[in-house]
């Protein structure tokens, strides 16, 4: 008897990138300063969620309730880190607002609050310059875990002096690749 087909990876419900050809600067976010990283993350997240849901007002709150966020970056928010490092090194005043954006969770929380996403919030740094594969791997674990039924995946990097580039995908678990009536009864315990 052949084994059941292995589960396939998550399916993509929507995707987005920033910039698209006609894009200018991402919109500023109140309370976030200095760095292009955070507006970039918020812009690509908003674009992806709009593609999936329309607006926060038209979205199905039951889906948002169990949507997680994974934010991945190879270099992180270098502009904020550099601004703090410079201020500390030369003894000048550290801007208090930088505290709030000093961790990538802050902008993830901004996106979550704007859209009502109440699933897990996770941020990762990646060894590869392309942060997307690691972001997808992290998202797959959250879907496997069951604490989220959809995951907004964001891969963003903004090298010094550039507006940066970002991609986003909204993922959901794949339906079982083989219709249940065709599968053999599971052996042992099916709990993941």
């Amino acid at each position: 008897m052949s084994a059941a087909a292995p589960p396939t990876g998550p399916v993509t419900l929507a995707e987005a990138r920033w910039p698209e050809p006609d894009d200018q600067q991402p919109p500023r976010i109140p309370g976030f300063i200095v760095s292009p990283f955070n507006p970039l993350v918020a812009a690509v997240a908003d674009r992806c969620l709009r593609a999936a849901h329309g607006t926060p007002e038209t979205a199905d709150p039951r889906r948002l309730e169990r949507t997680a966020i994974v934010l991945a970056s190879a270099d992180g928010d270098t502009a904020t880190a550099d601004a703090v490092g410079r201020a500390v090194a030369d003894g000048s005043r550290v801007q208090p607002l930088l505290f709030f954006q000093s961790n990538p969770n802050a902008v993830a929380g901004h996106v979550a609050a704007r859209w009502g996403l109440r699933g897990p919030v996770s941020c990762v740094r990646t060894a590869d310059a392309d942060a997307l594969p690691a972001a997808l791997a992290a998202a797959e674990l959250l879907l496997l875990d069951g604490d989220a039924t959809e995951v907004l995946v964001i891969a963003a990097d903004a090298a010094a002096g550039t507006p940066g580039e970002a991609r986003a995908r909204l993922l959901a678990p794949a339906p079982h690749p083989v219709p249940p009536r065709l599968t053999a009864p599971p052996k042992g315990n099916p709990h993941p």
């Binding site: 928010d77 500390v88 801007q95 505290f99 961790n103 979550a112 919030v121 941020c123 690691a134």
Partner: protein, 371 residues
């Protein structure tokens, strides 16, 4: 887990810690049981221009990559991992995201490949104060999904001038040199050193190797508040959902939880929100004993959750609940059964370790005492 395969239960077989209290879990839990804080004037770097000048840090300036490598080696040795088994184990890190992160990851990855045989760094979580609990949950998912038999989770934060300056600039640090979770006149956290490594393993793997687990990770839950970039939702609903998810995963009722190692940063808003979360889960006057050991070892940011997980494991093993230090008297918005003044003898089967972070992230880890 309810209906789960017992052989796939997640157990802890290795644990190693470096904190401001010194090397090992011994000095850490002795201080936590005594309620003796490690806060002192900062000597590691210049704090002359800062409002606050205290933290819980080790003498000198230990190197994060070297200490992470060392604790991973200790935890692996404690678990009795041989190189063949380590060679199949994912390594999940949790670190602060800054300009040194990538170099630290690269150095640790190369070093533990040599010393322990771990093949590579699988992931690096940087999501603030739930980074290491999230990494622990990810590792548990890898084990329960059958993708690994063993996983190593390591986290480190050593107090450094940039983050200290940020907290100070935002007036986020406690100005009276102490951390007073759930107390009246609480004024915020103080930072602390922590470098921690945990070996997680399936119960089946530990059994087949003849290794006696230190504890089990019976459940975990992760949620978001969807409220604010850095403030917790005042009603604590997100944290309560994380606790409920952790309990449900394990099939454990709230009444079976005998201790909560709280997030308890000592900040006015967060402690009140956490109290509401605990009241929502356990009832307002009927909850288990609670303490925040951040009052002793400080807030180690991305490493804090793993440090507090270690304290929780060791407290269950010893049958002694740690003290919520720095307490000045009851606060109307934090009415809990706090462990005050002296450690409390108790042998609960289950304890929770809770954490919340910027971005509204919440995690709950349900620790089960070893049988």
């Amino acid at each position: 887990m309810p209906g789960g395969d017992p052989a796939r239960q997640v157990v802890v077989t290795g644990l190693a810690v470096l904190s401001a209290l010194g090397d090992g879990t011994g000095p850490l839990v002795e201080a936590a049981w005594a309620g003796k804080p490690a806060f002192a004037p900062v000597t590691r770097f210049d704090v002359a221009g800062r409002r606050v000048r205290h933290a819980a840090h080790l003498p000198g300036a230990p190197r994060l990559a070297a200490e992470l490598t060392r604790v991973v080696g200790e935890a692996a040795a404690g678990a009795g991992l041989d190189r063949e088994q380590a060679g199949r184990a994912p390594l999940l890190l949790a670190l602060h995201s800054d300009t040194r992160t990538a170099a630290t990851v690269a150095e640790v990855g190369a070093a533990v490949r040599d010393t322990v045989g771990l093949p590579a760094v699988t992931s690096t979580a940087v999501g603030a104060c739930t980074a290491s609990s999230g990494a622990l949950a990810d590792a548990a998912v890898l084990l329960t999904a059958g993708r690994a038999q063993t996983a190593v989770v390591a986290a480190g934060y050593l107090v450094e001038p940039d983050t200290y300056a940020l907290f100070d600039a935002a007036s986020a640090l406690s100005r009276d040199g102490e951390v007073r979770p759930f107390s009246r006149d609480r004024r915020g956290p103080l930072l602390g050193d922590a470098v921690v490594a945990v070996v997680l393993e399936t119960a089946g793997s530990a059994h087949s190797r003849g290794v006696r687990p230190l504890a089990a990770l019976a459940g975990w839950g992760r949620t978001g508040d969807a409220h604010h970039v850095c403030r917790p939702a005042p009603d604590g609903a997100g944290l309560a959902r994380a606790v409920t998810a952790a309990l449900a995963r394990a099939g454990v009722a709230p009444g079976d939880v005998g201790y909560v190692n709280a997030n308890g940063t000592g900040s006015v808003l967060a402690d009140a929100a956490e109290t509401r979360a605990l009241h929502a889960v356990f009832g307002p006057g009927d909850g288990p004993p609670v303490s925040s050991t951040k009052s002793v070892h400080g807030h180690a940011l991305e490493a804090s959750a793993l440090l507090e997980f270690a304290v929780t494991v060791e407290s269950l093993r010893a049958g002694l609940l740690p003290v919520n230090a720095g307490y000045l008297g009851s606060a109307d918005d934090c009415r809990l059964d706090l462990v005050l003044h002296a450690p409390r003898e108790a042998r609960p089967r289950y304890a929770l370790s809770l954490n919340s972070a910027f971005g509204g992230a919440n995690t709950a880890l349900l620790v089960e005492a070893a049988a």
